[in-house]
């Protein structure tokens, strides 16, 4: 044990005389919202944080991308390998699909300087705070949702939860935390200059959430 650790712990232990306090957390009660309610609440809240939200059947994803990306002058889009397999055939040839299949070190220049947009999956969303939930992985690395100007996130309607506590307990997070988990609630923003809100300071300037129905 390091010397400092020993000293600090000894000092802290010296005052543990009172009976240990029981935590009294009143967990946010569930409202019993339907998926439809939650879809509505989630989109309203996300829109308040300046995210764009579209609800569509799963099978229309590729055609939405084919239509919207050219409109937004997005020429290339970064995707994880597994999602790329699903959509590459259906994507129009004018959009370049780039896979994040190398280590960051060999990819960083391209990632920072050339990639315009990214598309990632999510593990769900939280209606009451208007957040999408990501667990970046080997397939969809951490920086996909941070570096490109536009981040498109796919949320399965079935994976929208009422609150943060509910998604953590339903998905048993405490048993297996990924190296990184994220709640994202809008495009990057700041109010550091005279409390004036400005978007796109370090992360994406645009967050587009596509809620996919079966």
């Amino acid at each position: 044990m390091s010397k400092s650790k020993h000293i600090i712990l000894e000092k802290l232990k010296s005052k543990i005389h009172h009976s240990e306090l029981e935590k009294e957390i009143s967990l946010a009660t569930l409202n019993g919202w339907t998926k439809k309610d939650m879809t509505q609440i989630l989109s309203d809240k996300l829109k308040l944080s300046k995210a764009e939200v579209f609800v569509m059947p799963n099978k229309e994803l590729a055609s939405w991308l084919n239509e919207e990306l050219p409109k937004r002058k997005v020429k290339n889009i970064l995707s994880g390998t597994s999602l790329a397999k699903e959509i590459s055939q259906k994507l129009s040839s004018t959009i370049e699909l780039v896979e994040y299949d190398n280590s960051y070190e060999s990819f960083s220049k391209q990632l920072f300087n050339e990639i315009e947009a990214s598309i990632t999956r999510t593990v769900g969303a939280i209606a009451d705070s208007g957040s999408i939930v990501l667990k970046p992985s080997a397939d969809e690395p951490r920086l996909m949702s941070l570096v490109p100007n536009t981040h498109i996130a796919l949320v399965e309607q079935s994976s929208i939860f009422e609150n943060f506590g509910q998604i953590m307990s339903d998905q048993s997070w405490s048993l297996n935390m990924p190296s990184n988990a994220l709640l994202i609630s809008g495009p990057s923003k700041t109010a550091d200059i005279e409390q004036v809100l400005a978007y796109g300071v370090h992360g994406p300037k645009e967050l587009i959430v596509l809620i996919l129905t079966p």
Partner: protein
């Protein structure tokens, strides 16, 4: 921060600076209003505060156990853990880690604890370049100043002042007072720095013992950059930051963001549980956590003041403090200003040096009313205030107890106490004073500089009551 000047003269400067006062007034009004919009329903606020407070109570009363558990979980997650008793030790540990990795360029996410240990100054002296990346902190660093608020560091600067600092440092960019344009220019400048950095340093909002997870709350994304792009991530956490389990997070996160900036939630809640795993493509290759004591274990031992450690640094007490709103953050001359600052700092750095800070409180109680974890700040401040002039018990925990005692002042109060404790003497004195009222001085030192001196009344309250026929006065 200008510690060389006395507190009184710093306060004088602040009160004489109208620009500064109007910057703070409008910023605080904005934050107060934003917060109250989010807490419309009194009942749910009460239950949320109860939960948050109980979670923090649990953390503080189980601190040693939770810290040992946290260390074990972090090590399991392949994160190296260091314990630092003092600021000097923490700085040396961080320097050693950077030096071993041959890191010369460091990017930092906003962190008050690294302000507390003056890490920037220390690494500067070791020729390591350390760059603040939170927009507000970046601007404050460019201006060679210190943050004036723990959540909004550049709150003391107007847009014009910021534009000037920016264009002085980056003449290649056209001068602008447009906030969007300044923000985009900063984005451009900092993106390259993130990519080129050898290491990233961050603070920690909550450290979850159960899973070894470090949580960071932010809006900009610079915190995510600092903890993801460089090959090395060092997180610095005060030992009080630990919470027991993941289920503690939702109430704390909820009340933190609403209290701090009146946001439903911040843009990012970043939960980091390990460096890059073998199959992953990005994230730091190695991670370190420095657990900092720096006076916290002493506060923990001092049961009457222990609640100081519950603080989650939302800044709400600061936003609602009438003294802070008048003075701004720099007049305090400390890292943490406002109610939490005058409670925490004298305990950490001693009463000899910072005891006079406890006078920066009107005992209005606003801070205690808004504190998300129910720290009884006025009570703690009052307790400390009395420790500045007398006390015995707290000598073992706080340096300089009683050191601000002035012989004349204490003599005066002794006499006061004696007279007020003796009814015959009191009657004589009040009779004499009403008779000799013409002797009342026209000036009494600093007191009469801003106030009209009142003469004692012709008759005492007791006499007046008697005349009015009030019985048993």
């Amino acid at each position: 921060m200008d510690q060389a000047k006395s507190l009184e003269s710093r306060v004088g400067d602040a009160l004489g600076n109208e620009q500064l006062q109007s910057n703070f007034r409008s910023a605080m009004d904005y934050l107060v209003e934003k917060r109250s919009e989010k807490f419309q329903d009194e009942d749910s606020l009460i239950s949320l505060r109860d939960s948050a407070s109980s979670i923090r109570d649990n953390s503080i009363s189980n601190l040693p156990k939770l810290l040992v558990k946290l260390e074990e979980s972090l090590i399991n997650n392949n994160i190296q853990v260091h314990w630092a008793e003092t600021d000097i030790e923490a700085n040396n540990i961080i320097y050693q880690i950077l030096d071993e990795a041959n890191a010369k360029k460091v990017v930092k996410g906003k962190s008050m604890v690294t302000e507390e240990i003056e890490l920037n100054e220390f690494l500067d002296s070791k020729n390591i370049e350390i760059l603040e990346t939170d927009l507000g902190e970046f601007l404050v660093q460019l201006a060679n100043e210190k943050p004036s608020h723990i959540v909004m560091p550049a709150i003391h600067k107007s847009r014009r002042e910021i534009s000037k600092v920016f264009s002085d440092h980056f003449p290649d960019f056209p001068y602008t007072e447009d906030v969007d344009l300044i923000t985009q220019q900063a984005r451009k400048i900092l993106r390259d720095r993130f990519r080129e950095a050898d290491a990233g340093i961050s603070g920690v909002n909550f450290a979850v013992a159960e899973t070894g997870t470090l949580c960071l709350v932010e809006n900009e994304g610079n915190g995510r950059m600092c903890t993801t792009t460089p090959p090395l991530h060092i997180a610095v956490a005060g030992i009080e930051k630990v919470v027991e389990s993941l289920s503690d997070l939702p109430p704390l996160l909820d009340i933190l963001t609403k209290s701090a900036t009146g946001q439903e939630i911040t843009t990012y809640f970043n939960m980091i549980s390990s460096p890059r795993r073998h199959d992953e493509k990005d994230g730091p290759l190695s991670m370190h956590v420095v657990l900092l004591d720096n006076g916290r274990s002493k506060i923990h031992q001092n049961t009457e003041m222990q609640e100081t450690l519950k603080c989650i640094r939302c800044g709400s007490c600061i936003n609602h403090c009438p003294v802070y709103t008048q003075l701004g953050g720099h007049a305090y001359g400390t890292v943490y200003p406002g109610p939490i600052g005058i409670t925490l700092e004298p305990q950490q750095k001693g009463i000899s040096m910072l005891g006079d800070l406890t006078s920066l409180c009107t005992m209005c109680g606003a801070c205690a009313e808004v504190c998300p974890v129910q720290i009884p700040l006025p009570k703690l401040i009052n307790r400390l205030r009395s420790e500045t002039v007398e006390g015995d018990y707290m000598k073992q925990f706080i340096e300089g107890v009683g050191s601000q005692r002035k012989p004349m002042e204490s003599f005066t109060w002794q006499i006061w106490k004696y007279i007020y404790g003796n009814s015959a003497l009191y009657s004589i004195c009040s009779a004499v004073i009403t008779k000799l009222r013409f002797l009342a001085p026209k000036r009494i030192g600093g007191w009469s500089k801003y106030r009209v001196i009142q003469k004692p009344s012709r008759s005492s309250l007791k006499q007046l009551a008697k005349q009015a026929g009030i019985k048993n006065e």
